[in-house]
């Protein structure tokens, strides 16, 4: 069994690694979309009026409260098809993971904003900055840096969630491991390889974000 297993891994590896690139593309796309939407959501959640906060609360409840698989099917077979946009499974995976990630990233960022001493805002206002300027030039630059550890957590969650795109037929790493296993009947070895590649990607990503955190971190705030 072992030699056949190793042959299957060797043969299948380029195909699996291409699949890992699909996962990386999904994760980067979803993180970027999640950040683009999560930033205004976080600012609105902290500084918005009651109505804004309520609406953002509903958004977050929706995307944090429904399982990923349900959302994927809902968007792929439901919303996108009904609206006449025939989006590919790959696009739907990025959009759905991005929308979910926006909910989580907004909370990471909100936590970071709230963790800043109140004096920061007060000091900015007292030297004559408007509230908007204070958010932009005092609060966010600090909060974004403080969010990096939370993001590395979000990255590892997104990476693992990206494997669920398999259910829509996206040819990502997990789906490809299954493809090769169906042809070679070396299930154990191929899923081990897929698991190892995921582990490696998680390690590299969190390590990279950690380096970034140390590099841009606020002196005195670093642990």
């Amino acid at each position: 069994m072992i030699p056949q297993g190793l042959t299957a891994i060797k043969e299948g590896l380029p195909y699996l690694l291409e699949g890992a690139l699909v996962n990386i593309a999904v994760v980067l796309g979803a993180m970027a979309l999640g950040f683009a939407l999560g930033l205004p959501l976080a600012v609105g959640h902290v500084y918005g009026n009651r109505k804004t906060r309520g609406l953002i609360g509903i958004y977050i409840l929706f995307f944090r409260g429904i399982p990923l698989l349900v959302l994927l099917f809902l968007f792929y077979f439901g919303l996108f098809s009904l609206s006449g946009i025939n989006a590919s499974a790959f696009t739907v995976a990025i959009v759905v993971l991005g929308l979910i990630s926006a909910a989580y990233q907004s909370q990471i960022l909100r936590g970071a904003i709230l963790s800043l001493p109140e004096g920061q805002m007060k000091a900015a206002l007292s030297i004559g900055m408007s509230k908007k300027k204070a958010i932009f030039f005092v609060i966010l630059p600090q909060a974004l840096r403080l969010s990096i550890p939370g993001w590395s957590n979000e990255y590892s969650i997104l990476l693992k969630d990206s494997a669920v795109a398999y259910a829509l037929g996206v040819a990502e790493l997990m789906a490809r491991a299954h493809h090769v296993a169906s042809r070679t009947y070396q299930h154990l070895y191929l899923y081990l390889t897929a698991g190892f590649i995921f582990l490696l990607l998680t390690y590299l990503g969190t390590k990279g974000l950690n380096v970034l955190y140390k590099k841009v971190g606020i002196p005195g705030y670093l642990r």
């Binding site: 380029p14 195909y15 796309g29 939407l37 205004p40 790959f90 493809h179 169906s182």
Partner: protein, 254 residues
């Protein structure tokens, strides 16, 4: 002022991100064939990562003969008919069995193969078909298939007491026979022979009662033009010596 410009820039960025995905499907009309990439020898992914199998090669030949372009798109089997109806794919050429139930949803081409359903066990198992139908024996089956439905309706609902476990693909069901988590798996003879040829220690213990069915390509109800093209292409292909060669090459017995 600065803030306003920033948020506008931000919106543009979000839309660009959304647009990135859209560009992927603004191409020439190519028929997309949805395949179960885990269903050798009808459709699977070869060593180089390309779709392969009897159906893939047959449709490639038909496309060339009839003058259209085709792309084979791996699709999860239990969502393959919704995918067809939602226009995610244009046809299914992937060893699909023709059933009355499916005929209500899609149109089928002329048949090109038969499905004969059997039970497989470990090579050294003493289980017989008769014993397999008794209480607490565990069966494995691929989810969303005719066999899963048939066993459910004609055996479990009629008082048989064995347990049925569902899998994502036929190979996974057989893998769990090897693992010992289920005692036997219901698969087609084509699948069973393919697996036995690979040296996996399983054996066919016999038919469990599901009537034989035919296999054909599926298209959307309204797509009569594509159906005619496929029917004509299949007729021409089956009249060539290549058809026999393909069946032999992929170990599909007629």
């Amino acid at each position: 002022m600065l803030k306003k410009r920033f948020w506008i820039g931000w919106l543009v960025f979000v839309f660009l991100m959304a647009g990135l995905g859209n560009s992927a499907f603004a191409q020439d009309k190519v028929y997309i064939n949805g395949i179960d990439a885990n269903y050798p020898p009808f459709s699977f992914i070869d060593k180089n990562g390309n779709p392969d199998g009897l159906d893939v090669k047959a449709v490639d030949w038909i496309a060339e003969e009839m003058g259209f372009k085709v792309k084979h798109q791996p699709t999860e089997w239990d969502a393959i008919i919704p995918s067809l109806k939602n226009k995610k794919i244009d046809m299914i050429a992937s060893g699909m069995t023709v059933t009355e139930e499916r005929k209500k949803e899609v149109n089928f081409s002329i048949p090109y193969n038969e499905t004969i359903m059997v039970l497989v066990t470990k090579k050294d198992a003493a289980l017989t078909v008769e014993k397999a139908k008794t209480k607490d024996v565990k069966w494995g089956v691929q989810r969303g298939t005719t066999e899963a439905k048939w066993i459910e309706e004609n055996m479990l609902q009629k008082g048989f007491q064995f347990k049925l476990q569902h899998y994502d693909s036929a190979p996974l069901a057989v893998e769990d026979v090897i693992n010992g988590r289920v005692d036997c798996a219901a698969v087609s003879t084509t699948t069973a022979n393919e697996i036995i040829d690979k040296g996996i220690p399983i054996k066919i213990i016999g038919k469990y009662g599901q009537p034989d069915d035919v296999v054909a390509y599926a298209v959307r109800k309204e797509d009569t033009q594509l159906l005619n093209i496929l029917d004509e292409g299949l007729k021409r292909l089956m009249a060539t010596p290549l058809w026999k060669e393909l069946n032999e090459k992929y170990g599909v017995k007629k």
